[in-house]
C-alpha cells in the first residue's frame, strides 16, 4: 500500500509542478504585453476568491469538463481512445434541447430532468456505441472514427439548427430558449451553480465504483491491460469495446443536460466547442482516475474564469483570448510532465538496482 501512496504523491507533485511552470511561462506572455504578471495574476485571483458569484462560475465551468474527461478516461481504461467526446456532447445536447422544448411545459421538473438525463446519456451513448461497433466489427481505428464522428454530429447539429430546431424568429442559428420549468435547479443561491455540478460529482464517484468495484469494470480494465489474456479468460473483448464506448459516449452526452438545462438554456452553433479537447487533457492530468478528474476539472474551470476576469480588468486591455494561451501552455506542460514522470521513474529504478547490485 505504501508504494501506491508514493505514486499518488508523485503524480500530484508532477502535476502541480507542471501547472506552476505553465503559469510562469504564460506570465512571460504578459511581460511581452508590458504588464506585471504578478500584479495581474494576484488581482485576478483575489477577484475570484472574494466574489461569491465568480467562485460559482468556476464550478459552472468545471461541470461539463468533468463529464468529457470521464468519457475519455473510461475508454482509456479499456486501452481505447475516445477523442470524440465533443460530438457525443453535441448529440446529448440535441436530445436535451429537443426534449426540453417539447415537454418543458408538460412534465413536472424532476420527471423532465430525469427524462433528459436518460435521453442525453443514450444519445451520446449511441454515438459512442457506433464507434465501438466499428472497432469491434471492422477493426476500424477508433481514434480516427471517434475524431471524425465529432464533425459528423456537429454537421447534423448545424442542419437541425437551420431547419426544425431553428428559433421562431429565424434570426440566428440557435433554438428558442427552453421553459424555466426545464431548468436544472440552482443549488447555491446568488450564483449560477446548478444541480448539474452535484450530478458531476456523483457521476465521478459512480464511474470509480463501476471501474474498480464491479466485475464489468474489472473486465473493461482487463481488456485494456491485456486483451489476449482477457479473451482467453472467456471475456469477449469486442463486446467490451462496444460497452465501454457506449458508457463513455453516454458520459459525454450527460454534459448536454448540464449545459442546456443548467447554463445556456438553448442550443446554438459552436456551442462550448472546446470542452471535448479539454476533457482529454484533464483526464491525462488526472492519470485517468475518476476522482482526480474532479480536481483537475476544477483547476481548468478556475483558469478559464481567471482568463475571463483578466480580460475584464479595466484599462489593461488584455485580450480575452489570453486564456486560450494560458490553458494551452499549461496543458502542454502537463503532457510533458506525464512523460517526464515516466522517465524519472525509470531512472530511479535503475539507480536503486545499481545500489542493490553494488551491495551484493
Amino acid at each position: 500500500m505504501k508504494r501506491l501512496k508514493d505514486r499518488y504523491g508523485e503524480v500530484l507533485l508532477f502535476n502541480i509542478g507542471a501547472v506552476v511552470v505553465g503559469l510562469i511561462l504564460s506570465a512571460c506572455m504578459l511581460l511581452f504585453m508590458k504588464l506585471n504578471p504578478v500584479e495581474v495574476y494576484s488581482t485576478a485571483f483575489l477577484k475570484i476568491v472574494t466574489d461569491k458569484y465568480t467562485m460559482g462560475e468556476v464550478l459552472v465551468k468545471s461541470t461539463p469538463l468533468v463529464f468529457t474527461a470521464l468519457a475519455f478516461a473510461f475508454t482509456y481504461k479499456a486501452n481505447l481512445f475516445n477523442i470524440g467526446a465533443q460530438g457525443q456532447f453535441y448529440a446529448g445536447s440535441i436530445v436535451a434541447v429537443t426534449l426540453s422544448l417539447q415537454l418543458g411545459t408538460v412534465l413536472p421538473t424532476p420527471l423532465l430532468i430525469l427524462l433528459v438525463l436518460l435521453g442525453s446519456f443514450l444519445a451520446g451513448g449511441l454515438v459512442g456505441a457506433l464507434i465501438g461497433f466499428a472497432k469491434a466489427r471492422f477493426n476500424a481505428n477508433e481514434f480516427l472514427v471517434s475524431m471524425m464522428s465529432t464533425y459528423v454530429v456537429s454537421a447534423v447539429m448545424d442542419y437541425l439548427l437551420r431547419t426544425v430546431l431553428r428559433e421562431t424568429k429565424g434570426e440566428y442559428l440557435q433554438t428558442d430558449p427552453i421553459d424555466a420549468n426545464a431548468y436544472l435547479p440552482s443549488v447555491l443561491p446568488g450564483t449560477r451553480v446548478h444541480l448539474g455540478t452535484v450530478l458531476a460529482i456523483l457521476t465521478a464517484i459512480l464511474v470509480w465504483v463501476l471501474l474498480y468495484k464491479t466485475p464489468l469494470g474489472f473486465r473493461i480494465r482487463a481488456v485494456g491491460s491485456n486483451a489476449t489474456a482477457a479473451e482467453l479468460a472467456g471475456i469477449r473483448s469486442k463486446r467490451i469495446y462496444v460497452v465501454a464506448f457506449l458508457i463513455s459516449g453516454g458520459l459525454a452526452g450527460m454534459a448536454g443536460l448540464t449545459e442546456i438545462n443548467g447554463v445556456q438554456h438553448m442550443l446554438l452553433q459552436n456551442f462550448n466547442s472546446s470542452i471535448g479537447s479539454f476533457g482529454i487533457g484533464i483526464a491525462i492530468l488526472a492519470n485517468g482516475h475518476p476522482l482526480g478528474i474532479l480536481f483537475a476539472s476544477l483547476l481548468f474551470g478556475f483558469m478559464n474564469i481567471m482568463g475571463t476576469t483578466m480580460g475584464r480588468m479595466p484599462g489593461l486591455n488584455i485580450p480575452s483570448s489570453i486564456i486560450d494561451l494560458i490553458e494551452g501552455i499549461v496543458m502542454i506542460c502537463v503532457i510533458i510532465s506525464y512523460f517526464l514522470r515516466g522517465y524519472v521513474h525509470n531512472r530511479r529504478e535503475k539507480q536503486r538496482l545499481r545500489k542493490a547490485g553494488a551491495q551484493k
Partner: protein
C-alpha cells in the same frame, strides 16, 4: 597467449526493473567457439545484444582486437565484423533468399543474377544447400537459419553470435549446425553461441562461460569440466534426480477426444491436419515436437480460441467444438498457455485480480453485484501460501513477481478452473530448477486426483519424465502415439523431423 578478439570488461546493464548484467567480463580468442550457458533470464542474450549494439551498456567497456569500441547500432557492429543471429529470424518472408541477404547493402540498380551467383558461391563453400532464388517464406525453419548465417557470411562477419540456434531445429538439423560452427571457427573466426542445453555445449564449444542471474558464474575449458559441474554452476545447486512416477495402464472413458481435427492459420494455410487423440482420466498425455509444429494450435482448438475447420472436439463425451471459451472454462478445462505475458496474466493487475480473471462471470467472487474483494484476497493469500509463491500479498502487481512465481499463480488458477482437464503448454519454459520442480510436482498431484492432463513440451527430458503416453507432432500432424518407454530419443528425434518411424503406432 595471443591478443583476444573480443574482450568484454566489467559490463553492467540495468533495465527498469531488473539487473540484466552485473560486472560481466570474458574474452573470446581467434578460432574459438565459446558457449554462453545459463538458464533463461540469466542475462546471456542481454550481454550479446550489447556486443551487437542493440543495447547500450550502463557500465564497463568492450574491446575488439584490443581496441576499445563503442558500438552504437547493429550496423556499427557489422562494420567491425560482428554478426548476430537472433532467436527470431529477421528475414522478409516474401523476398527471395538473395534479396534477403543483400537487403540494406545495395544501392541503385540491382544486378540480381550477379548477387545470386555470389551468394551461391558462399553457400557452396560451406556445403549449404540453399535455393538462392526461392522465397524465404517457403523454406523450412532450418533452411531459414542457414539464410541468416549466409547473411552474416556475406558481410564477412568473423565474430558470429547465435542466440539459441537450436531451439527451432530438429536433433538432426542441430547436429549439422554444430558441424558448421566447428568448421567456421576452424577457419580462424570466432563463434559465441547462447544455449541452455548442456549436450550442445559439450559437443561444440571450446570454452564455456556460465551465467547465472546476470553475473558470470564460471568460465571453464571443455576438457576441464563435465555436465554435472556445468549444471551446478548454472543453477547454483546440485541437480536432484527426477522423480519418475509409475504409470499404470489407464482405463475409463476419455475426458478429451479429438476426432480428425483440422484448423487454418493466418494465411489460410493448414496448421492442423486430421489430428486425433484422446486423453484418459488420471493420465498425462504428452505432445512432443519442435516448437511451431502445431502444438500451440492443438491447445487453442481445445480451449476454444481457434476455430476448427474440420473434425470435432469431445469433452467428457460431449461435442464442444462450437462452444465459446467461457463455456469451456465453466465446463472445467484449465489451460496454462506457453506465453504467460501475452496469454496467461495481466501484468499490470494485482495477483488477486489475476486470480479473478477467469472467474469474473458467475457469482463466485461477487456479492450484490460488486466484487467480493475480501473473500478474493483471502483466497489469493491462501494460494500464495499453498504454492509457496514469493510475494508479499494479494495486492502485489503480477509484474513484480519473478517468472517462476508468476507461473505458480497461473498454475494455481488453472488447476482450480480445470476440474476435469488441464492443458499445459510448455509450463516450465524459462523457469529456474526450483520452480520447475514445484510445477512438475503440482502436475503429478492433479494427475493423482484423476484429472486428465495434456502436456506440450519441446524438452524431451520433460516428456520422458512426466508423460504416460506420448504423441509426436510434425507440421500439424500427429506422427504417432506411443507409450512412454516404447521409443528412445533417437527415434523420437527422427519423427520430430518428419521421418516416419519403422514401428507402427497404436
Amino acid at each position: 597467449m595471443a591478443q583476444p578478439v573480443v574482450e568484454i570488461r566489467h559490463v553492467s546493464k540495468y533495465f527498469a526493473k531488473v539487473i540484466a548484467n552485473k560486472d560481466v567480463s570474458f574474452t573470446v580468442h581467434q578460432g574459438e567457439v565459446v558457449a554462453l550457458l545459463g538458464e533463461n533470464g540469466a542475462g546471456k542474450s542481454t550481454i550479446m545484444k550489447i556486443l551487437y549494439g542493440l543495447y547500450g551498456a550502463d557500465e564497463g567497456e568492450i574491446r575488439i582486437r584490443g581496441e576499445a569500441v563503442h558500438i552504437k547500432s547493429p550496423k556499427d557492429a557489422m562494420s567491425r565484423g560482428v554478426a548476430m543471429i537472433q532467436q527470431h529470424f529477421s528475414l522478409v518472408p516474401t523476398h527471395t533468399v538473395t534479396e534477403n541477404i543483400i537487403l540494406g547493402n545495395v544501392h541503385g540498380r540491382i544486378a540480381i543474377k550477379e548477387y545470386e551467383e555470389k551468394v551461391k558461391a558462399i553457400a557452396e563453400s560451406y556445403g549449404f544447400d540453399v535455393p538462392v532464388d526461392a522465397k524465404v517464406g517457403d523454406l523450412a525453419v532450418g533452411v531459414q537459419q542457414k539464410v541468416e548465417i549466409l547473411k552474416a557470411l556475406y558481410l564477412n562477419a568473423n565474430i558470429l553470435i547465435m542466440d539459441e540456434p537450436t531451439a527451432v531445429l530438429t536433433p538432426q538439423e542441430s547436429e549439422n549446425l554444430m558441424v558448421f560452427i566447428r568448421e567456421f571457427a576452424a577457419k580462424g573466426n570466432c563463434v559465441i553461441f547462447i544455449t541452455h542445453k548442456m549436450k550442445e555445449v559439450m559437443e561444440a564449444a571450446d570454452r564455456i562461460v556460465i551465467m547465472r542471474s546476470g553475473v558470470v558464474a564460471g568460465d571453464v575449458r571443455k576438457e576441464d569440466t563435465d555436465e554435472a559441474e556445468l549444471a551446478r554452476l548454472m543453477i547454483g545447486q546440485e541437480l536432484t534426480p527426477p522423480v519418475r512416477t509409475e504409470a499404470p495402464q489407464q482405463t475409463g472413458e476419455a475426458v478429451l477426444e479429438l476426432k480428425g481435427v483440422s484448423a487454418l492459420g493466418p494465411e489460410k494455410t493448414p496448421v492442423l491436419q486430421q489430428v486425433s487423440f484422446s486423453v484418459l482420466p488420471g493420465e498425462i498425455f504428452g505432445i512432443a515436437g519442435v516448437s511451431g509444429n502445431g502444438q500451440d494450435e492443438v491447445c487453442e482448438v481445445i480451449c476454444g480460441s481457434r476455430p476448427v475447420t474440420e473434425g470435432a472436439v469431445l469433452f467428457r463425451g460431449q461435442d464442444i467444438t462450437q462452444q465459446t471459451i467461457r463455456q469451456r472454462i465453466d465446463g472445467g478445462i484449465g489451460y496454462v498457455p506457453v506465453d504467460r505475458y501475452r496469454d496467461g496474466m495481466i501484468m499490470d493487475m494485482t495477483l488477486a485480480e489475476n486470480i479473478l480473471l477467469k472467474n469474473s462471470y458467475g457469482g463466485r467472487w461477487t456479492s450484490k453485484g460488486f466484487i467480493a474483494q475480501k473473500r478474493l484476497n483471502d483466497y489469493t493469500a491462501q494460494i500464495i501460501k499453498d504454492h509457496q509463491v514469493k510475494a508479499t500479498g494479494p495486492s502485489d502487481l503480477a509484474r513484480s513477481l519473478s517468472g517462476g512465481n508468476q507461473q505458480k499463480v497461473v498454475l494455481a488458477r488453472e488447476i482450480d478452473v480445470g476440474q476435469h482437464l488441464l492443458i499445459f503448454n510448455q509450463p516450465t519454459r524459462g523457469l529456474d530448477m526450483g520452480a520447475v520442480d514445484r510445477i512438475h510436482h503440482s502436475i503429478l498431484q492433479e494427475k493423482e486426483k484423476g484429472k486428465a492432463v495434456l502436456l506440450v513440451s519441446t524438452e524431451l527430458s520433460e516428456i520422458f519424465e512426466m508423460c504416460d503416453r506420448i504423441a509426436i507432432m510434425y507440421k500439424g500432424r500427429i506422427m504417432g502415439i506411443y507409450r512412454n518407454g516404447e521409443l528412445d530419443t533417437q527415434e523420437i528425434g527422427l519423427m520430430m523431423a518428419g521421418v516416419t518411424a519403422g514401428k507402427e503406432g497404436q
